[in-house]
């Protein structure tokens, strides 16, 4: 075997169209490392850039392995090799061994460089080092191995049909980038065929050997890291074994060949079966089922039911939760209800969780599941229900790589019907229970889970209005502060204390009672949420619950205080109102930039009133123009409309800035104005902001004149 291996290696090294490109590749890799080192010193950025290039290396190794193995067919060697005992098998084995040597060098180079960057950046976080090693093995080891197996298998099966080989390689390469994403969206965008898009992506995912693809611009959350879920490894093994069995079918004949064929069918079935049950994986791309788009798409298609303010009629006194987190969430949740005499009970459980059964002490009871809601009939005196369910959420993942299940999300049954998604605000509704319940939570997971409740060893208990579970590259970075250690903006206790002080003073200044949840926030557990929580949601920047806080960022005390204040301010969901409330917050927190030209002169109130009038006029003028009306307009009318829109937008900006500057900075009644608008924003008022501004300004003008 050694001689065969040496001969194969000699063939490779002496072939100019193999060895030269290989040497050029090694040189390019070194140059690429230099480029990454110079430009992307942050370890995640470096890893991203290294991973992006991976698929082209895989394609190159497909080329190398195909060209090496097909030489046997080009040189008419196969016929006599088959007459030797296991001759063809030995020849292929030698070729594969040779190719393993060829890929070993670049694999080691990538691995070494990644390790170097880890130590150079002085990261000092062991889980991340382990993650990088797994990344290297999967992305720079197994994927290269897949390349050589695919190339060799194509040589074995397709032989000298080069056009077919080239085409398949190009397709494979493009499927492992976001090149095909625009194409795969066509069935849904043009024909509303969600199922077709799903099928196309299923196929693409099955062929994905580099999970973080070129063209993917989504941020990687440090808690999760690069996708290395078990299914990725299973797929890698599949794409190594399946081509291997194809090669072996060519090397044997008769019974062994049939056995190999059967084995390859079984491997395909097993691979497809396991892949179909892959459970929760992080899908950060453009498909309808992805992290950013799945829920917005799901809820926009559903009839608009609004359950805000809906009363459940009962409370849950106690939860006993037994969660198993493997490929997805498997849960058995026992709830103790206070009111046993209702005719029916509604619960909210996110629609991604499939409810298997609902039981009482007397056995299973019927239930109706519609979307996010469960309806159960009378309990006949029973006070406890056991829900058994499993499933996943595209955003709030729970798998072997990471767990991100915030307490305000219905990943366990919550009493009554509550909205999960707010269409107007384009974000998740923060569903905290009105009362605290007792919880006893046990999580079976390979990860160390962090929870707002007390406990250890993945078992927790306590009282709260929601249970938050986080795990992955996550840790307790200070007492009662939990964060992603890889992030540069780690929260600090002094920021939280500062924010608490700022808020206390602010509410005193506003002469308004501080919400109960805000009291003693510095004593609550603080969980830094992954940055991608804010990707498709305007509502999760910071969430304050009875015993803990989740926040996406915490750079300093004032910023934290402002985020907290934002969580209770609910402006109308139109861009003008949002702009006004941002201006309001700026002045409330004294963030105005006094070097701005706006501060050179006092606001001309009469001009401001005129501008407000003009805005109101333009808004009224174009309020009836919908898409159909617009399409029926002639060119002049369209231009006029477009000009009006531009003017309205510009005016909105100007009025917003001037009004805020006057009302909250220049006006003698600025404190009162701050109070008025605090009430306006927190009361979810339907009144028009501009009318309110106009009224106040006119009042003040009238006061001045008098």
């Amino acid at each position: 075997m050694r001689k065969l291996y040496k001969a194969s290696l000699s063939v490779f090294l002496r072939s100019k169209n193999l060895s030269l490109p290989y040497l050029v590749l090694l040189a390019l890799i070194v140059a690429y490392f230099g480029f990454c080192f110079n430009n992307y010193l942050h370890y995640f950025s470096v890893a991203i850039w290294l991973v992006r290039s991976c698929i082209f290396l895989v394609a190159f190794f497909i080329y190398c392995s195909y060209e090496l193995a097909v030489r046997m067919y080009d040189n008419n060697m196969v016929e006599y090799l088959k007459t030797y005992q296991q001759g063809l098998l030995k020849a292929y084995a030698a070729i594969i061994l040779c190719l393993l040597t060829i890929i070993a060098l670049p694999s080691i180079m990538f691995f070494a460089f990644i390790l170097f960057m880890y130590y150079y950046n002085d990261v000092q976080y062991l889980p991340f080092l382990i993650h990088l090693m797994k990344l290297s093995i999967l992305y720079f080891g197994l994927s290269f191995l897949i390349g050589i197996m695919l190339g060799t298998a194509m040589a074995a099966k397709l032989k000298t049909k080069r056009l077919a080989v080239y085409s398949l390689t190009v397709i494979f390469m493009l499927l492992n980038t976001t090149f095909t994403d625009v194409l795969f969206r066509v069935p849904y965008l043009l024909f509303n065929s969600y199922q077709t898009e799903r099928m196309l992506y299923y196929f693409k995912d099955f062929l994905t050997v580099v999970p973080y693809q070129l063209g993917n611009n989504f941020i990687i959350d440090p808690i999760y890291g690069f996708p290395t879920e078990p299914i990725r490894w299973i797929l890698a093994v599949f794409w190594i074994l399946f081509p291997l069995t194809l090669i072996l079918t060519e090397c044997f004949d008769r019974k062994t060949k049939k056995a190999m064929l059967v084995t390859s069918y079984l491997i395909v079935l097993l691979g497809v079966g396991l892949f179909s049950n892959r459970g929760s994986t992080l899908l950060m791309d453009m498909r309808v089922d992805s992290y950013p788009y799945a829920d917005p798409h799901y809820y926009q298609d559903r009839p608009g039911e609004d359950y805000s303010g809906n009363e459940a009629g009962f409370m849950i006194e106690e939860y006993k939760m037994d969660l198993t987190i493997s490929n997805e969430l498997h849960a058995e949740v026992e709830v103790t209800i206070d009111n046993h005499d209702l005719d029916s009970y509604d619960f909210t459980l996110y629609h991604g969780y499939i409810l298997k059964s609902v039981r009482t002490e007397d056995g299973e009871i019927p239930f109706a599941r519609l979307g996010d809601y469960i309806r159960i009939g009378s309990l006949n005196g029973a006070d406890r229900l056991i829900f058994k369910y499993y499933g996943k959420s595209p955003k709030y993942y729970a798998n072997r790589q990471a767990i991100a299940l915030p307490g305000y999300f219905a990943y366990y049954p919550k009493p009554g019907r509550t909205n999960i998604w707010d269409l107007d605000r384009y974000g998740y509704v923060i569903n905290t229970s009105p009362n605290e319940s007792k919880y006893s939570v046990h999580v079976r997971s390979n990860l160390k889970v962090f929870c707002n409740l007390a406990g250890s060893g993945n078992s927790f208990h306590g009282k709260s209005d929601g249970v938050t579970l986080l795990a992955g590259m996550y840790d307790e970075v200070a007492k009662n502060i939990y964060a992603e250690p890889m992030r540069s903006d780690l929260p600090k206790r002094e920021y939280i204390r500062e924010a608490e002080e700022i808020l206390t003073n602010l509410f005193k200044r506003l002469d308004r009672p501080e919400p109960e949840l805000f009291s003693r926030i510095s004593e609550k557990k603080f969980f830094q949420a992954p940055q991608n929580f804010g990707l498709n949601s305007n509502t999760e920047d910071i969430v304050i619950m009875s015993d803990h806080i989740t926040a996406i960022s915490c750079n300093n005390g004032p910023q934290l205080a402002e985020s907290i204040m934002e969580s209770i301010i609910k402006p109308q969901a139109d861009s003008l109102c949002m702009s006004h409330y941002r201006q309001y917050l700026k002045y409330l927190f004294n963030r105005q930039d006094e070097t701005d030209p706006l501060f050179q002169n006092a606001v001309d109130l009469n001009l401001l009133l005129k501008e407000i009038d003009e805005m109101q006029f333009l808004a009224a003028k174009n309020s009836n123009v919908d898409r159909e009306t617009y399409l029926n307009m002639n060119e002049q009318e369209k231009k006029a409309h477009s000009d009006d829109e531009k003017r309205l937008s510009n005016l909105g900006q100007i009025v917003s800035e001037k009004a805020a500057k006057y009302l909250f900075y220049e006006s003698p009644r600025q404190e009162e104005n701050l109070r008025i608008f605090f009430d306006y924003f927190t009361a979810e008022s339907e009144a028009d902001y501009l009318e309110l501004v106009e009224r106040i300004v006119k009042e003040e003008l009238g006061d001045d004149r008098s």
Binding site: N17, A59, S167, M173, V186, L214
Partner: protein, 208 residues
């Protein structure tokens, strides 16, 4: 020309890959983008066009070159290599043939957008570059597999990741003024340099 026709016919079903891309996938993708954007969305459509169209320009040329570089009995093909049947000439004819298909696509675009001709010029020059790059690399490496990978890798890298790199022949923007063709003259010159380089290699293929 008869020989070129037979060489294209020899590709059988693979010949239809660029027409399918140009006449089915690109129009559908552009339509979907327009629908998703709820309006004109020309810059995005320009990006999509540049993603798909130049990348596949080298398909026919590379598959024709495969016969000259990889097939047994290829010496026979080189017997008449001098004169009108030279490979570089074939590459240019194939590029012109591809441009005809692109013209048809852009006639369709005229019904969707106001002004498409700057984009058209940019794309045909990018296609010329891709053909030239494929031709040059194929003759340099005596292989058509590597140029195919490099062509698609180039399109992917510079259209999906390094949008604003100075090495990119592509342009991100609205293509509504001549400034959007700022890269095109340089790209065309590089294409001709690649053709010239490839032709020099072609002349010496069997001189050893």
């Amino acid at each position: 020309m008869r020989r070129l026709y037979l060489e294209l016919k020899n590709q059988r079903l693979y010949f239809f890959v660029p027409p399918i891309i140009l006449f089915i996938l690109v129009p559908l993708t552009v339509l979907a983008t327009i629908k998703n954007g709820g309006g004109d969305n020309f810059p995005e459509c320009a990006t999509i066009s540049q993603l798909f169209i130049p990348g596949f320009a080298a398909w026919w040329p590379l598959f024709v070159l495969k016969e000259y570089l990889n097939s047994p009995g290829k010496e026979l093909l080189f017997v008449h290599k001098y004169g009108r049947d030279s490979l570089v000439f074939k590459m240019i004819i194939l590029w012109a043939f591809y441009v005809l298909f692109v013209v048809i696509v852009f006639i369709y675009f005229i019904f969707l957008f106001d002004f498409v001709w700057f984009l058209f010029i940019a794309i045909i020059i990018q296609s010329l570059f891709m053909v030239a790059l494929g031709y040059f690399l194929a003759l340099l490496f005596q292989n058509t597999f590597i140029p195919l990978i490099i062509n698609f890798a180039y399109s992917s890298i510079f259209m999906l990741a390094l949008f604003y790199s100075p090495l990119s022949i592509f342009e991100i923007g609205s293509f509504n003024s001549v400034s959007s063709l700022s890269k095109s003259p340089v790209v065309a010159i590089i294409a001709f340099i690649l053709f010239y380089g490839g032709y020099q290699i072609e002349k010496h293929l069997y001189n050893d």
